[in-house]
Symmetry: C2
Subunit: 267 residues, 2 copies
């Protein structure tokens, strides 16, 4: 999906919500376990009830991988089922040397047809560039993550006063453009968005950490929005596990709608 | 596998060689493509011919994942086939928030029964600690990698003169011990081993980058060895793709033996 298409979808749906498919087999409603492919069945119902309120889906690859080849099949079916009108993100946080990154690109952009993949920056340019060789595909590079451990290294400061996550934002702009490169910035650091927008004006930011992790849409939007919206705000557990009963689809739809309604006046 | 067992295996086999199973379907000998599971068939023959010369195997997960659920099955069969006397490394370079890392730990330590996994440090402690909850399992944390892009961020220096990879080595020692934590240090940085051994005296180091990437056993060992050997030197392409003919197994065995013979006098 191109940048223009994504902006078009945001305007059409009046939402910049991303639904995180962290579909943990141990947490999905028990009655689904009788289905042939419980994880896919769960995702299908979640997608059916949320698609009018969101513009993107982000399967968290760990929850599929942990089930071995079966989980991999559930993932493939899920990606196929997501409508073409929605941007798809493989939340895989890969990052390796060039010839290995090429294989990961093949996995997520060819074997599975995701629009984008999250990538860890630690190993530098060769972790990123093989993904950028695909047209209309995206790298979403970790910058400032939403977890507690983001404090361990991401705020390390060099002699010029620049922090590690700021170096990632700045240096990687030589590798990709706002047309194929986004950044992950956690909603748990609302104070950081102002400075981040000074370094990455045009780039889309994928923002996890709203809901279960404590961030809010309003805080993120205050400094995070740009001229083209430039945000994909993700919620996972707050939507997909809104209920563990037979009404889980409807309840997920309501939670997604609630977040989308907070976004609508800003579009 | 415990640290003691690993040291015992190194002494028994007179080798600290790790064979990297970067088993790229497009590079394995053509006659294997007729087999039911070409990737597993390839690995089986490589393992049969190299096991007396090495102490560890490191499947590079990207090459299996890129084939979808089929590749996942080849990987599972490979891990089962590796003898219990050999240390197994899932070269997966995962790194995520706590609840996701737990899933990755389940994948690589339960669904597949690897002894260890490579982990990227960017997201800090929550990326690492869920793996360390398993007894006799290991995290191998990226410190100074062998690729060109290692220059992009890993050498970033703070106001006290400490580089990012040195911070990773130092801080992570509060999370794990030499009994469950190793570090990745590329053979392409032989000059760095002296300083690294000052920070991480007892830890095992997994050293990629010998062979195709240009590093040598002698250079790595000069400052890398410690009292318990403390090194696993990996070679992938130089061993497994030593020949693309029907003799690929024998040739892999010879290449592995050649490296092991450079190690033997040092043990």
């Amino acid at each position: 999906m191109t940048r223009e298409d994504l902006i078009h979808q945001i305007k059409a749906k009046q939402s910049f919500l991303c639904v995180g498919l962290d579909s943990d087999l141990s947490r999905i409603p028990r009655h689904l376990l009788e289905a042939k492919d419980p994880l896919f069945e769960f995702n299908k119902i979640i997608i059916d009830h949320t698609k009018e309120h969101c513009v993107a889906y982000k399967p968290n690859i760990a929850f599929y991988e942990s089930l071995g080849s079966k989980g991999w099949e559930s993932l493939a079916k899920t990606v196929d089922y997501i409508p073409d009108t929605h941007f798809t993100i493989a939340d895989a946080k890969r990052g390796d040397i060039g010839n290995t990154s090429k294989q990961y690109a093949k996995t997520f952009f060819e074997t599975l047809q995701f629009d984008s993949i999250t990538v860890a920056p630690y190993m530098g340019i060769d972790s990123v560039s093989p993904f950028l060789e695909y047209s209309d595909k995206w790298v979403i590079l970790l910058a400032l993550t939403s977890n507690k451990g983001s404090d361990d290294f991401q705020h390390m400061t060099d002699v010029n006063g620049e922090q590690l996550f700021e170096q990632v934002l700045r240096k990687s702009q030589a590798w990709g453009s706002p047309d194929n490169l986004m950044f992950v910035v956690g909603a748990t650091h609302p104070e950081a968005f102002k400075g981040i927008r000074e370094i990455a004006k045009e780039h889309f930011l994928l923002v996890p950490g709203v809901g279960a992790q404590g961030g809010t849409v309003a805080e993120v939007c205050q400094f995070g929005l740009n001229e083209d919206i430039g945000l994909l705000i993700n919620s996972s557990r707050g939507i997909i596990f809104a209920s563990d009963g037979e009404d889980f689809g409807e309840r997920a739809g309501e939670s997604a709608k609630q977040l989308a309604m907070q976004m609508q006046p800003l579009i």
